[in-house]
C-alpha cells in the first residue's frame, strides 16, 4: 500500500515536473522532420503578432485542416493532418503560451 502510494507520488512528480508544452507537444513532434521552431516561424510569417498567432494556434489545435495549415502541401500529403488535441482549454492555453515564449522574436535580436 505504502509502496503503491510512493510510486504514484514519484510518477506524478515526474509528470508534473515537465511543463504543459513539453508534456503535450514535444513528444509527438519528435518524429516529424520539421521541428516546432520551424512551424512557429511559419506561423509568424502568416500571423505576425502575438495575439493573432496564439489565437490561430488555439484554433488549429482544435480544428486542424488542410486548408488553413501553414505547412506545405507536400508536407501535409506526406504526414497527414494532425489529430484534434484532446487536452483541456487551460492546458492548451498554457502550452501555447510557453510555445510562444520559447520561440518568439521579441528581445532576441541585436
Amino acid at each position: 500500500m505504502v509502496k503503491k502510494l510512493f510510486m504514484l507520488l514519484a510518477l506524478s512528480i515526474g509528470v508534473f515536473a515537465e511543463n504543459a508544452y513539453e508534456r503535450n507537444c514535444v513528444p509527438c513532434h519528435r518524429e516529424l522532420p520539421t521541428d516546432l521552431q520551424g512551424m512557429f516561424k511559419n506561423y509568424l510569417l502568416v500571423y505576425s503578432g502575438e495575439e493573432t498567432v496564439k489565437a490561430a494556434l488555439r484554433h488549429y489545435m482544435r480544428y486542424p485542416s488542410k486548408h488553413i495549415s501553414v505547412m506545405s502541401d507536400l508536407f501535409i500529403d506526406t504526414y497527414g493532418i494532425k489529430e484534434t488535441l484532446q487536452i483541456s482549454d487551460q492546458e492548451l492555453k498554457e502550452a501555447i503560451d510557453l510555445y510562444w515564449e520559447k520561440y518568439k522574436v521579441f528581445g532576441k535580436l541585436n
Partner: protein, 395 residues
C-alpha cells in the same frame, strides 16, 4: 473753383474716414487670409514634392531591407543580428503595432501614413506582404536636413510680402473708388452753395437794412408783430448766409488777429439775437466776467453766432439760454432736446444735423470746429436727452 475743389477733397468727413477704415481693415484682413492660405498650400505642395522625391529612394531601400529580413528569418535563432545599413535606420513592428526591433531615433511612428516628416526625420512605413520574423511593418528613417524648409519659407515670405504690398496698392485705388460717390455729392453741394451764396447777398442786405429803417412807432400793433416776424426770419437767413460766405469765400482770407473783449462781443451778439429769443419766450442766464482773446474777429463771431443760434434753435419754448464767460473758458448751454449719444461723435461733420426736425444745413458746427481747431481751442459737448446741451470752450 479749384480752391473749392481742393478743400472738398482734402477734408474727409469723420463718417467717411470711419467707413474707409472699416473697408481697409476688412480688406487687409481678407488679403492676409488669402495670402497665408496660399502660402500654407504652397508649402504643403512642396513638402509633398520633397517627400515623393525621397520616396523613390526609400522604396529601393525597403526592398533591400526586406530581402535581408527574409534571410534572417530563415536562419533565426542561430543568427540574431538585425541587418543594418549606413544609409538609413530601420525598425520592424508586428501586426499589433508592437515593436519587434528598432534602430530608429524617433520612436513614435504613425502607421496611417506611408511617408511623413516629423521632428527632423522622414519616416517611410512599408506594409509587408510576408511577415518575416512576424514583421508586418518595416519602418525606414532618414535624416532631413531642413534645407528645403528654410529655402521654402524664405520664398513664401518673399512672395507673400510682395503680393501683400501689391494688394495694398490695389486696395488703395479700390478705397478711392469706394469713397468717390460720397465725395462727388459733397462737392456738388459745395458748388451749389457757392453759386447761390453770391446771389443771396444783395436781396438779403436790402431786406435787413429796410427793416432797420422802418419807423415802428407809427405802426399798428398788428403790423409791428408781422414786421417782427419778418425780422426774425431775415436774421436766421442772415446767419446762414454768413456761414456760407465764410465757408466758400472768407475761409481762404488771411487772419486779422486782434485782441478782442469777448464780453463786449457777446453782448453785441445777444442783442442781435434778441428778436429770436423773444419769439421763443426764452430767458438768458448770464454769468459774464471780463475775458480777452487774440483772434480774428469775424471767426470768433461765427463761433459765438453758431453756438448761440443753436442754443436758441434747439431750445424748447420758455427755456433758458445760459452763458458763462471766464478768463480761458466760455460755456453756452440750453434747456433743449439734447443730442442723442450715438450722434454726438458726428455733430461736427458737415451737412449733418443732430435733430432732423429743425432747419439748417448743419454746416454751422463744422465751421465752429474748424475755427476752434485752427486756434487750438478745445470744445467739449455735454448733453442729456430732453434736458439740454452744454458746449464748453477752453483755451
Amino acid at each position: 473753383m479749384s480752391a473749392l475743389k481742393n478743400r472738398a477733397t482734402s477734408s474727409l468727413l469723420k463718417s467717411e474716414t470711419k467707413s474707409l477704415q472699416r473697408f481697409l481693415s476688412l480688406y487687409i484682413l481678407l488679403v492676409m487670409m488669402v495670402i497665408s492660405t496660399l502660402g500654407v498650400l504652397y508649402y504643403q505642395a512642396h513638402k509633398e514634392l520633397m517627400l515623393s522625391a525621397q520616396r523613390a529612394e526609400l522604396v529601393k531601400y525597403a526592398y533591400i531591407q526586406t530581402k535581408r529580413l527574409k534571410v534572417l528569418h530563415h536562419f533565426f535563432d542561430d543568427q540574431r543580428t538585425y541587418p543594418r545599413d549606413p544609409r538609413f535606420r530601420s525598425a520592424i513592428y508586428d501586426i499589433e503595432y508592437k515593436e519587434i526591433f528598432s534602430l530608429l531615433k524617433n520612436r513614435s511612428v504613425d502607421f496611417t501614413q506611408e511617408i511623413y516628416l516629423k521632428d527632423g526625420v522622414i519616416h517611410f512605413v512599408k506594409s509587408m506582404d510576408i511577415f518575416y520574423l512576424g514583421a508586418k511593418y518595416l519602418i525606414l528613417e532618414i535624416e532631413d536636413d531642413g534645407a528645403w524648409h528654410k529655402h521654402l519659407i524664405k520664398k513664401i515670405l518673399g512672395y507673400g510680402t510682395a503680393a501683400f504690398f501689391l494688394f495694398l496698392f490695389f486696395g488703395y485705388f479700390l478705397a478711392k473708388l469706394f469713397v468717390k460717390p460720397m465725395r462727388d455729392s459733397i462737392m456738388l453741394l459745395d458748388r451749389f452753395i457757392k453759386d447761390t451764396t453770391h446771389e443771396l447777398n444783395t436781396p438779403l442786405s436790402a431786406i435787413l437794412a429796410n427793416i432797420e429803417m422802418m419807423d415802428t412807432d407809427v405802426m399798428v400793433e398788428k403790423n409791428r408783430k408781422k414786421l417782427n416776424r419778418i425780422n426774425i426770419a431775415a436774421k436766421t437767413v442772415s446767419i446762414l448766409y454768413q456761414d456760407l460766405t465764410y465757408l466758400t469765400l472768407e475761409q481762404e482770407r488771411e487772419n486779422e488777429n486782434e485782441k478782442i473783449d469777448i464780453a463786449e462781443l457777446l453782448y453785441d451778439r445777444i442783442e442781435y439775437f434778441k428778436v429770436l429769443v423773444e419769439s421763443k419766450a426764452l430767458d438768458y442766464e448770464m454769468d459774464i466776467n471780463h475775458a480777452e482773446i487774440v483772434m480774428d474777429r469775424r471767426k470768433l463771431t461765427r463761433v459765438i453766432d453758431n453756438l448761440l443760434s443753436n442754443a436758441i434753435k434747439y431750445n424748447k419754448r420758455k427755456g433758458i439760454v445760459g452763458i458763462r464767460l471766464r478768463e480761458g473758458s466760455l460755456e453756452i448751454w440750453d434747456t433743449g432736446v439734447g443730442i442723442p449719444e450715438e450722434k454726438r461723435a458726428f455733430i461736427f461733420d458737415r451737412y449733418r444735423r443732430f435733430n432732423e426736425s429743425e432747419g439748417g444745413f448743419g454746416i454751422g458746427l463744422s465751421i465752429v470746429k474748424r475755427i476752434l481747431d485752427e486756434y487750438g481751442i478745445r470744445i467739449e459737448v455735454f448733453s442729456e436727452k430732453d434736458k439740454g446741451t452744454r458746449m464748453v470752450l477752453k483755451w
